[in-house]
């Protein structure tokens, strides 16, 4: 077969010579076609077509075969003339041989037929796409609606095409086949496993089997996918996985002390210094958290205290600190909360810090599974193990028995599903396992799809006022983030088109109408996703701001006085991105610097207005820009600054993440500022 294909290829190659022979035929007296006007036109067409493609294609470096197909057409047309000329030439040279076998009759058709056969062989040769069909069939047969394929192979688009609208695609292969955007893959896995309601499929292409899987396992601390099928295509190994619903490998980690722990420490500080840096790993509780987990300061950093990795920087001008952290696993799943309280003694030489960690998860799934692994000490010497229901009891802590094994088997794990709506505090998300009087505790694994924790207490009616860009995505992002934290929110989207930050006070009537029935308890005023000074040059901004500032301040007072029961969150816009050519905002440009300064002034002025006293206590500022967009907390603890924009009006995935986290943090925080309490002496 390979020999035949080689022959076919050889025959095809000869056809590129034939147009040259056609040129020879043209100069040959006998075979010369009439040099008609039509032929001249064709010649001009061919030359222009060829040179245009050669110049443009060469200049642009186009390596797309279809771009040059028209040249092929121009070459194919005179090719038979070349064959004809070749036949005539050979017959004149080998006249005796030619006449003896009557070759002049068949030569032309034989060459054309061989050429066509070669071309057909090439065209119909299998192009090894069967694996795509196999994967599509498998996913189609096993997938639930609203599923997503995280694809590194480049074939996901086809699979999605074959599956229709039931599947969404998250591609991580970028342009060049050899290049895999690793960070993009991590982000995709994290996002999809957390937020996708349906199945999450992971399609990997590896040169060496298991390399990507191992790398992902190394990064997340575990591999939350089950293997489904694999195909070998040439040098590549294609493997399909399905998300197994586990967003934290808490069983293997086993940190019982994290459930509830308190620890105090005392540090000697230098009163002459302004800052003191505290390593959270000094506390034994934090040392038990795996390195891939990260700690997030609720409501971001302040001047008094900031967090970087596991280092807390405290401003010593304050006398007391109280900081609240969330501890998230590598899939960004928050599972514990910690409160760090610090107090400086009057002399300023000693700093006493106490830390309390409560290991309750911040969310409870509607259904979740627990995989119980018997400690080896219990299993040893008991082979073959014959377990019965009486052997052990599985129950959530301090609750009645919810389930137990019913049949005899050797399995050491069991999936238990609790009904949705079970109060999470009762479940404690840990289990007591009794085995012949020996008791051990196991934590549970979570499965995606969940109802909110404390949904009775945390069901909010939120009015989301978007004054700059209408976007359902904002509401969607915020909802999913709140859901992650166990809050069910009814959100209404109000789009005040044409409004701007400075013209906000003009929309009192609209706001009154929306809040008149008393249903809404929280209003988010999104003052613009990006540059709200879009149409203003930097020298116009101070004047515009000064003019409108008083109106805005009176508007905030009005909000407080008229709707004291409603919480208002002002989402400050992000400062403009550098290097935006449309606004000539190069990083070195005065325009960009002045805009950044304008944004800082805006934030300070608003903070000042709100800090004037109690009147504005129901109004908060949600500042996304201070959240930073570095990837340190999410990926490998290596600091890498991400860009929150893909364009001046479009946020990147990093930007969206920060946007929704900042907003959620603000929403979750109590009215009193408990997370960054700073009281001067």
């Amino acid at each position: 077969m390979n020999g035949l294909l080689m022959l076919a290829g050889l025959l095809r190659a000869t056809f590129y010579i034939l147009p040259g022979l056609a040129v020879l035929a043209f100069f040959n007296r006998k075979n010369r076609p009439a040099m008609s006007d039509g032929f001249l036109f064709f010649l001009i067409g061919g030359i222009i077509c060829f040179s245009a493609r050669a110049l443009y294609g060469g200049f642009m470096g186009l390596a797309i075969s279809r771009y040059y197909l028209l040249i092929v057409l121009f070459l194919l047309i005179p090719a038979p003339l070349g064959v004809d000329f070749l036949g005539d030439f050979l017959s004149s040279r080998f006249k005796q041989f030619w006449t003896r076998y009557r070759l002049s009759r068949y030569f032309f058709y034989a060459v054309i037929a061989f050429g066509c056969a070669g071309q057909l062989c090439k065209a119909y040769r299998s192009d090894q796409q069967q694996h795509i069909f196999d994967f599509a069939e498998y996913i189609g047969g096993h997938s639930r609606p609203d599923s997503v394929i995280v694809d590194t192979t480049g074939g996901g688009k086809w699979i999605q095409f074959r599956l229709g609208n039931s599947c969404r695609l998250q591609e991580t292969r970028v342009e060049n086949e050899a290049y895999l955007d690793w960070l993009q893959l991590l982000e995709a896995v994290r996002q999809e496993t957390l937020f996708t309601k349906g199945d999450v499929w992971l399609l990997l292409r590896e040169k060496e089997k298991g390399t990507l899987e191992k790398a992902l396992s190394r990064h997340f601390g575990f591999f939350p996918f089950d293997f489904c099928m694999e195909r070998d295509v040439r040098k590549w190994k294609y493997r399909l996985f399905r998300f197994n619903g586990k967003t934290g490998d808490s069983v293997r980690r086993n940190f019982p002390s994290a459930v509830s722990a308190e620890e105090s420490k005392q540090y000697a500080v230098d009163p002459a210094r302004q800052k003191f840096t505290l390593n959270l790993n000094d506390f034994s509780v934090f040392r038990e958290f795996p390195a891939s987990d990260f700690i997030q300061l609720v409501r971001g950093g302040t001047d008094a205290a900031s967090l970087s990795g596991r280092m807390v920087s405290l401003n010593l001008s304050a006398a007391r600190w109280k900081l609240r952290f969330r501890i998230l696993n590598s899939l960004a799943w928050p599972y514990a909360e910690a409160v760090l309280q610090g107090e400086r003694d009057p002399s300023g030489r000693t700093l006493r810090v106490s830390l309390s960690v409560s290991g309750r998860l911040s969310q409870v799934p509607a259904e979740y599974s627990m995989e119980l692994l018997l400690p080896e000490v219990l299993v040893a010497g008991a082979s073959p193990v014959k377990w019965t229901a009486a052997d052990f009891v599985i129950a959530p802590l301090e609750t009645p028995l919810l389930c137990s094994f019913e049949k005899e088997d050797k399995q050491s794990s069991k999936e238990v599903t609790f009904s949705p709506g079970q109060p999470p505090e009762d479940l404690q998300l840990a289990c007591r396992l009794s085995f012949y009087g020996t008791e051990t505790r196991q934590r549970v694994r979570l499965r995606s799809g969940h109802a909110g924790r404390n949904s009775r207490n945390r069901s909010w009616n939120i009015l989301f006022v978007n004054i700059f860009y209408p976007s359902d995505r904002m509401v969607g992002e915020l909802k999913s983030e709140l859901k992650k934290h166990g809050v069910s929110a009814n959100m209404e989207l109000a789009e005040w088109k044409g409004a701007s930050l400075l013209s906000l006070p003009k929309y009192r009537k609209k706001l009154e109408a929306a809040l008149s029935d008393g249903r809404i308890d929280t209003v988010i005023l999104n003052l613009g996703q990006c540059d709200v000074f879009w149409h203003l040059q930097y020298w116009e901004m101070p004047r515009a701001w000064n003019q409108e500032r008083l109106h805005l301040e009176s508007f905030l007072r009005y909000l407080h006085q008229t709707f004291p029961q409603v919480r208002f969150g002002l989402v400050l816009p992000l400062p403009p991105p550098p290097g935006e050519s449309a606004l000539q905002l190069g990083t070195s440009s005065l325009n960009w610097f002045e805009r950044r300064r304008g944004y800082r002034n805006l934030k300070e002025a608003l903070t000042e207005t709100l800090a004037e006293g109690a009147p504005h206590s129901n109004i908060g500022i949600v500042d996304i820009s201070t959240q930073g967009v570095d990837r340190e907390d999410y990926v490998t603890h290596s600091r890498q600054t991400g860009v929150p924009y893909v364009s001046p009006v479009e946020l990147s995935e990093q930007g969206w993440r920060k946007w929704r986290e900042a907003l959620t943090d603000w929403l979750l925080s109590e009215n009193e500022s408990h997370n960054s309490l700073v009281k001067n002496d």
């Binding site: 054309i112 066509c116 065209a123």
Partner: protein
Amino acid sequence: MKQLVQWLKNHWEMPAIFAGSFLLRFFYTFGRLPHRDALFYVEAAREKDGAAVYGPSDSLPPLFHYILVAANAFSLPVYETGLAVNLLAGSAVVVGVYLISLELFARKHLAWGAALLAATHPGLIEYSATAMRDAPYHCCFVFAVYFGIRLAKYQTVGSALMYGVLGALAILFRKEGVELLVILIVWLGVSVFVFPQENRLRRLSLVFISTVTFFLILISVCAGIYFADKSPWLFHLVGKL
């Protein structure tokens, strides 16, 4: 009917070539996946504001996009419609090659040879068996060249008109269709400087007719797009060129 039968008797080669090419391309589609770009076109056509995503708002010519959008509007399967357009256009390309060869060399076996080679060419088959813009563009280009050859040879008004129409359609499928206009300009120069004086006026007037038709079609389509979608595609194209 009689006329049709008579025409088929006289020109049986063309339906035969068309049918043969069509079958080759049709069977090629089985067990094969669409081209990646085809999926992109289909996706854009299905989207509500697909025209803003690509096509008229960018330098990609809009005709193929609007064919797919129309299919979507009439609840036809989008990809299959694009595929059908490509299969038909790709098969017609082979007929065009046959006609050009016959016009140039006036020998049937050479024309058959060219048609067979074009019918079996792997690249041409591949891009006719998916929902891409290439096959319709090739079809318009090849027939435009055919009518261009007739224009040069017989100097008929019909050929001039057809050249203009097909040239405009070609540029509405792929911007490389502008080469047909360049060919016309070069031909204008040849008509003025190369050919003897006696026929010059007729030649120039035919080129003029072709050019006017070309721009008339192009501008009217672009104006239609502009009023429908407010997307000045032609300006984008000129900007890109």
